[in-house]
Amino acid sequence: MRKTAIIWQIIGLLGALLFPWYMVQGGFFSFSWVGGIFSDPKNASAFAQGLFHQKWWLITSLLPLVGTALALLFIKNTKLLAKFLVMISIAGLVLIFAQGFIVSRTGARIFADLFVGGAGEAGQVGFGAGAFVVLFSQLFILTTGFSGLGKGRGDAFIVGLIGLIVSLVGVFVFFPVSHILIQAFEGPEGNLGLAEFFDNFTSSRIWGVRCLYEANSCGTAWNSLFLAIMTGAGTTLLGLAFALIATRTNFRAKRLLRVLTIIPIITPPFVIGLALILLFGRSGMVSEFLYDHFDVEKTRWLYGFWGIYIAQLLSFTPIAFLVLIGVVEGVSPSMEEASQTLNGDRWQTFRFVSFPLMRPGLANAFLLGFIESMADFGNPLVLGGNYSVLSTEIYFSIVGAVANSGKAATLAIVLLSMTLGAFLLQRMWLGKKSYATVTGKGDSGQHASLNPLLRGFCYATTIPWAIFTVIVYSMIVFGSFVKLWGYDHSFTFAHYIRAFSINFTDGIRFTGVAWDSYFTTLTISSIAAPLTTIVGLATAYLLVRQKFVGKQVFEFSTMLSFAIPGTVIGVSYILAFNVPPIELTGTSIILILVFVFRNMPVGVRGGIAAMSQLDKSLDEASITLGANSFTTVRKIIVPLMGPAILAALTYSFVRAITSVSAVIFLVSAKHNMATSFIIGRVENGEFGIAIAYSTVLIVTMLSVILLLQFIIGKRRLRRENRIQKHTKTKVAQA
């Protein structure tokens, strides 16, 4: 324990001495700060700031760091040392954050009398590299101290990992979300008040019910709720029909169904909306056709509830399918066979055995669809028209003519409570009601085939829907090659050339308008994906393999960010990270962070699933053989989790590229993302370029997925080669 603590102590001291305490111009990696690490008041390290630049409060908050150093030098009793380290490093963390919150960019917020003099009144900017190094060192000295007290079985690595993830989730999920609460209660003059909140909260714009008795629109909350319930029900029904066909019939094209489930994952969320406009919009293909041949008037019916609803059904049915195929397969065939041997016919078997067993799964799929619909931003933005829902209202109250962050925060609270409510319902009510009937024991037998009427019904719903999906997707490709949709359908590459032209005349110059955002997107996604994977799988490891106090709270809070809609996260990030001490808006770091913590639950879920497949005694064997938990993770768990790691990598990469809701608040001129660029084109009515760009994104993601699949495939081959080699040598010996 002492050794680990000393390492972190040295890192902390280096951070305080040789790294710039504040954010530096041009970013840390420009290394422009090196020259002024002591002399320049902007770039100086913490000790230098304190000693030479009148920032005395930095010295005070660094005293605990000196304290732990002294403790490590002079306290020989391990238990006592651990106690001291814990207490002092807690003080250190508190002091560092306290000074960060008290002294803002414009001077001290409270205790102003203490902070008189030039530096105190001048204020300070956000934490920089030095501050983060010191914070991490204090955090890990704290966890090491805890492990020294015998917590977490005295395992410094495990306690450190728990500490790290708890603080990361705390700082990047709970801290920003709590800002929303504060913002919602904040009056126009910055005073906290309930009146403002209740005005906003009870506004008829949110809760109005006028649509019930007169031709007027209802409040956004009702709109969102109604849409979400409809979408949840619709996707669950369609998903169930697809799942039944995939498992209970000898339908030929089952593999095609699998493909249909992947495509929406790699589709940016508003693209389906765009395709629907191309089909059913005022100048859409179908609308034109109906007008020309049947005199059906061209209307704007698509822009409103029906448009969003169809788009959401298209987008989220695959998710319901993925959930329900597991549920349908999870009903043990022997139960159905038992029912049939007891003289139940196929309908009775389905009605009284299979269906009741599936019910919790269906409820789960419904709630998932509900949450997805609530959180959906892309489709309502493109197709919403006058049907305003919470997620887009939040966006418009931030970027609208009059930015009203109080209103945005209030709407965010309404949205958050609805999704969290659904999430809690799912966890508490369904958590206990699992009828998963397939056990580890071999369960042979065949699923009962469907009753003909039911099968007919399934086919009748799914086949048209599948065809519709295919048409919608072909629209996307088709639309990118025509000049001006609805007016001039002549073939052209113009959109691609505008977006992705390259000029070779003097060297290679990427002259297309989309290149900037394309490269930014790829870079940020490729940085975010491995980080998401690491955080997600590390959390999964702790949840599956370790026992510690507060584990349930820990699990709940890591899964929580799944239920926080992207728009809410986006708003909370700009509210929280626009001011010191953690100032990140306008940087690429904030984009990476938002991806990591939004997609983390996916990594956690995947990791939990993969890790539950690994026999726990493998870890225990490694540990009893004298390996510590870090070595065990490195040599046993990571190698055995290969496929899960790749899956998590792929998924978080793809989610980062297709994400739009949170990102749209956080992009800057310098760091623009593909999706927000496309949204911008859509808002300008440049559908051609938007669709061309979307097509390129889809192709990019497909190639990445195929590449990763290829790597996994190769791994498997190598193993088979090995086995083949062995059998050959065996034959040779014989």
Partner: protein, 355 residues
Amino acid sequence: MSNNQITGSVRFENVVKNYGSVVALKDLTLDIVPGELVTLLGPSGCGKTTTLRLIAGLEAATGGNIFIGNDNVTHLSATYRNVSMVFQSYALFPHMSVLDNVAYGLKVSSIPKKEAYDKARDGLAMVGLKGYDERLPSELSGGQQQRVAVARAVVLEPEVLLLDEPLSNLDAKLRRQVREQIRQIQQRLSLTTVYVTHDQEEAMAVSDRIIVMKNAEIAQIGTPMDLYNTPNSKFIADFIGDANVIDCEVSAIKSGIATVEIPGAKLKILTNQTTNFNASLVIRPQNVSLEQASKKAGIKGTVTYAAYLGNQIQYTLDSAIGELFVVDNNMADMFKVGSDVDIILNEKKLVLVSK
């Protein structure tokens, strides 16, 4: 007291283990002598595996102290305890070759690579798997995997070797062979070994001493012979070997001999109790002989079930003292179902246990 202990002993002092409100071990105190093979035996949920995992350091004790050798290891994590364990599922690392599996513990203890592999090869030779170095675990049979697991645990030269139901995944014939091999290796290296099983025959076959556990407590400790011949409770009598446990009335105890009354007979049975107590009578199936029914007074019974097994005949009887299970080695003639018999008990072999 701890000064005169040497490497390889295990001592529990008032160890308690709770999982939330569930008590897995209540106040366990036990001593394991260096070099002996002790079996933890008991029905599932009795706390035997918990005890083993506490020695390994895979679980943390809720209270009490655990010593290995002279060291108090109660708060030491598994990594730093000098014990190694053979798991029920073997837990061979599927992505490593047999040799890498066996060398793993040596390598992570920073023993030079060459030495680690040499020792690992010796270990494989010891369990009779020379030349299997490069195989993957999936390419071995169950018995071979089991031996790799033993080699992997033994090459570390642990103070204590722990075996968690090591034979449960093998078929019956292989089981006897492997348990003999484990016992031989254990005696050759004089390794302190703690062995968990729920199979009493297996426990009798390998152990120096057996610790029988029940409901998170020790029910009885003793050599296999002690447990079979002088069970201290109804539970032990029933659990170790087959036994008929019959209600009886103790009418008097005089100089170590109890007078016991059951319907149809009055028996004199050795006991270490001095005062009258509430007792049950333990009758082993082979300590009963059957005779053709006669007019004599005695215990009468009727055969309700008879099975011919080649080397013995098993009967179930309905009698005045309750249902009796009897093993008869007299193969010459066999009683038919429904025949009436006289039941004769071998008084010297009967045991009294408290109710």
